[in-house]
């Protein structure tokens, strides 16, 4: 319909509604960020202009059929304008307190347990076992990790003990889900209660509920030579915890294993159509057991990060405080895909990191920011922006014939 009958590839791409929609979303984010350090535009004109551009792109995509993406970009533009204008109104001092390179570092800090948890969830659910028990497995890792590090005098022992504890709890879940064909959601809920009881009981029995000795061996930080002195990048990634880097690697490994290896194909087959998998000689039970136990070990690793990683060797009752559920949300938000879940975990980690800094402006806004991951996930499962599709046989017990 356009009168520009130019036949050049860039323009063709721009006319594609999909590109327009995505560009709109990106511009919406930019609209908010031009007002923040390091750019810090002080005039409300810039975010408004960029935001309007985003909204127009979104609108054009929406009118050409891509309704979800288009309206998403439209909304991103409007939100970008509001946030951007708000940012230009606030003092430059406050802005530089909140938006520093260390915000990126704390984003990684908060997202790491979520990354471990969501990868754990992906393995379990891709094999067809719903794992609501992530929270409990994480909690087991947090407590037994600190116990192992204390008694074994080494964080490595702590990690091993944590993974063992998480794996054992996962084994209980697996046995009930696979062999006893219990409802997996009921079983997962039970596992969460069990973990809460076990960790609480032994925390009091072994440490009197508070006295974890100071100076427990903790997982070291990785100080990157040279890079840590770079501007912006240095404070952001220069000295992250070892487990943060492990979590990055885990995402790639998870993706590779699930989508590029025969074993991954088998895992996904068990999650999509166990009967067919069984017919071609795949041992569905063995795959599911393996995946659920692995899931427990990975979740426990995320828990251990909380206590002997960035927690510095401290433990408190119910330390995970719902992070297992955010990890679950990240997995769903990421559509049961490793990179999607990683992106969601980063987003949720970022919102938490931001929430910890926002009290510079307003305490209540910071609190509401904490709810953001849950609201976003609710919107995602509602299918407003794209649709989440779990593995076909997720949560269905399988009985061999």
């Amino acid at each position: 319909m356009s009168t520009f009958a130019l036949d050049n590839p860039v323009w063709n791409r721009l006319r594609d509604p999909r590109t327009a929609g995505i560009a709109g979303i990106v511009l919406g984010v930019v609209a908010c960020f031009v007002a923040l350090p390091p750019i810090t535009a002080r005039s409300p004109l810039y975010p408004v202009l960029v935001g309007i551009a985003a909204a127009i792109l979104g609108l054009s995509a929406a009118l050409r059929g891509l309704r979800r993406l288009g309206w998403g970009a439209f909304a991103a533009g409007l939100i970008g304008i509001v946030l951007g204008v708000l940012a230009t109104r606030s003092s430059e001092g406050n802005l530089s307190i909140v938006f520093t390179a260390s915000l990126i570092a704390s984003m990684f800090v908060f997202s790491t347990p979520l990354v471990f948890g969501s990868m754990a969830g992906i393995f379990s659910e891709r094999s067809g076992v719903v794992n609501i028990g992530l929270e409990g497995m994480m909690l087991m890792g947090a407590f037994w990790g600190v116990y192992g590090a204390d008694k074994g005098k080494s964080w490595a022992v702590g990690i091993l003990v944590a993974m063992l504890a998480g794996g054992l709890l996962a084994l209980v879940h697996a046995y009930f889900a696979i062999h006893l064909r219990a409802d997996q959601i009921v079983g997962g809920t039970a596992v969460n209660f069990l973990a809460l009881g076990i960790t609480g009981y032994f925390f009091f029995q072994l440490y009197n509920g508070q006295d974890i000795p100071i100076g427990v061996s903790t997982i070291p930080d990785v100080h990157l030579p040279y890079i840590r002195h770079w501007k912006y990048i240095g404070p952001a990634i220069g000295s992250l915890n070892l487990l943060v880097w492990v979590s990055f690697a885990l995402v790639i490994v998870t993706w590779f294993v699930l989508f590029k290896t025969p074993i991954g194909l088998r895992i996904r087959a068990c999650g999509e159509h166990p009967r067919a998998a069984d017919t071609v000689g795949i041992n569905v039970y063995a795959i599911r057991y393996g995946c659920v136990v692995l899931s427990g070990m990975l979740a426990a690793l995320g828990g251990a990060y909380l206590s002997i990683g960035f927690g510095g060797g401290a433990y408190t009752d119910n330390m995970t405080a719902g992070r297992g559920f955010i990890a679950l949300a990240a997995m769903i938000f990421g559509n049961w895909r490793p990179f999607g879940a990683f992106g969601a975990a980063l987003l949720f980690g970022f919102s938490t990191a931001l929430a910890y800094r926002l009290p510079a402006y307003s305490g209540s806004a910071a609190t509401l920011f904490q709810a953001l991951p849950y609201v976003l996930t609710l919107i995602a499962v509602a299918g407003v922006v794209g649709r989440t599709v779990p593995p076909a046989a997720d949560g269905k017990p399988y009985k061999k014939q």
Partner: protein, 411 residues
């Protein structure tokens, strides 16, 4: 013994006719159908056995950590005030009397959060969001209780409780609508709604929040509800957290639950959708409408629990109370152990209410500290839920019973 006998127009298949292949039913059946199978399969045996095994395993952990489990359970029994039956009195001088009143206070809440889970189960849904629905009921009751100080007592209470019920129903209704219209799994949506409710509460009662107290802006706690909104106390003293009439409302809710499910068209439709949505739709029942309706009613029970707690004995709420509360989650164990029936839920609520109070505030013991015993409650709760959900264990009991029955007939 036919459990279905009192059901009047029973839409359940005849107990002996269908599950000749219970394995198939358990592998393919809907949630409600599977639970119905469980209900028929073991009589009272399964829940009693489940509870016994859970207590036994909990006792083993107590034993392994160097405490005497029998003495520990005795002290928990006394801590819950259950020894009151040996020398009943309403005098609050008696510790047993006081403890029992507190146990019943917990039972009140547990009955309702249990019913919330049970009602959704009967429609084939797992409402894991009782905690969030309980919270919104509690917030709204606090708001109504605090903000209308000039109202007369009766309308104030009715308004507060009504608002709490409505809030819970709306909160759960969101999950129900999402399930009905876009097929979003209710477990995921209710978990998310739980956490949203938690953070909303932290905002409401936190510094600068709309429900924070008017005296001291540094303390994140709400105002007390007005005297006109407080429920009358009939056992004990109001200032000492006596037992309020909410207990009778909860008992009435049990009757309402039973009547609603078994004596109304609504209940019939809800159960039909629970057993088999396709068949229900074929029979002219709107599946969407019933999913939303069942979820809203389920949330109404949990919202009522929050309202009764606020107007009955809490009166105010602090942000620090939010992460500690998990009475909504306990409702899951109550409903599952009570097998989603009114009577069962009532009994299970008493059991868990006794455990809850008897292992924490009521416990005075030199055998086991309240900190340990309180966590023992979580373990027992977890084990109960774990065992109650296991089809194969249930089928084992079912088959054993059948075999025994057949042998009894031929002998």
């Amino acid at each position: 013994m036919r459990r279905g006998g009192k059901d009047g127009v029973s839409d359940r298949p005849d107990p002996d006719a269908v599950p000749e292949t219970p394995e198939e039913a358990s592998a393919t059946g809907t949630l409600a159908a599977r639970f119905a199978l469980r209900q028929r399969s073991g009589g009272l045996i399964v829940p009693v056995l489940t509870a016994l095994v859970a207590f036994l395993l909990g006792g083993l952990i107590v034993l392994a950590t160097g405490h005497n489990p029998l003495l520990a359970y005795r002290d928990i029994f006394n801590g819950a005030g259950l020894n009151w039956i040996f020398h009943p009195t309403t005098s609050m001088v008696s510790t047993a009397s006081y403890n029992l009143s507190q146990t019943l206070l917990q039972t009140t809440t547990l009955i309702l959060t249990g019913l919330a889970v049970a009602f959704a189960f009967r429609c084939g849904m797992f409402n894991i969001g009782g905690q969030g629905q309980y919270f919104v009921g509690l917030y709204v009751a606090n708001w109504v209780g605090v903000s209308l100080p000039h109202l007369a007592t009766f309308p104030h209470i009715v308004l507060g409780i009504g608002a709490a019920i409505l809030a819970g129903a709306v909160w759960a209704g969101i999950a129900g609508s999402l399930k009905a219209y876009v097929g979003a799994h209710e477990v995921i949506t209710t978990i998310m709604l739980n956490w949203i409710a938690i953070w909303i509460g932290t905002y409401f009662f936190g510094d600068g929040g709309p429900l924070q107290n008017s005296q001291n802006a540094t303390v994140p706690i709400s105002n007390d509800v007005a005297a006109s909104a407080k429920l009358p106390v009939f056992w004990g003293i109001q200032a000492l957290q006596g037992l309020d009439v909410g207990f009778f409302i909860a008992l009435a809710a049990l009757v309402v639950f039973w009547a609603l499910l078994n004596r109304t068209t609504l209940g019939y439709e809800v159960r039909a959708v629970g057993f088999n949505p396709e068949a229900a739709a074929y029979g002219g029942i709107s599946v969407k409408k019933n999913l939303i309706r069942a979820m809203a009613i389920s949330g109404a029970f949990a919202g009522l629990a929050g309202g009764l707690d606020m107007l009955g004995y809490l009166y105010h709420f602090a942000t620090s109370d939010i992460p500690v509360s998990n009475i909504g989650f306990l409702g899951i164990a109550v409903a599952l152990l009570g097998r989603n029936t009114a009577v069962g839920t009532g009994i299970a609520a008493l059991l868990f209410g006794a455990l809850l109070f008897g292992t924490t505030h009521g416990l005075s013991s030199n055998v086991i500290q309240p900190e340990l015993a309180g966590n023992l409650t979580y373990m027992i709760q977890g084990l109960v839920v774990l065992f109650v959900g296991a089809d194969v264990l249930i089928l084992y009991v079912w088959n054993t019973r059948r075999r025994l029955r057949v042998r009894g007939v031929t002998a």
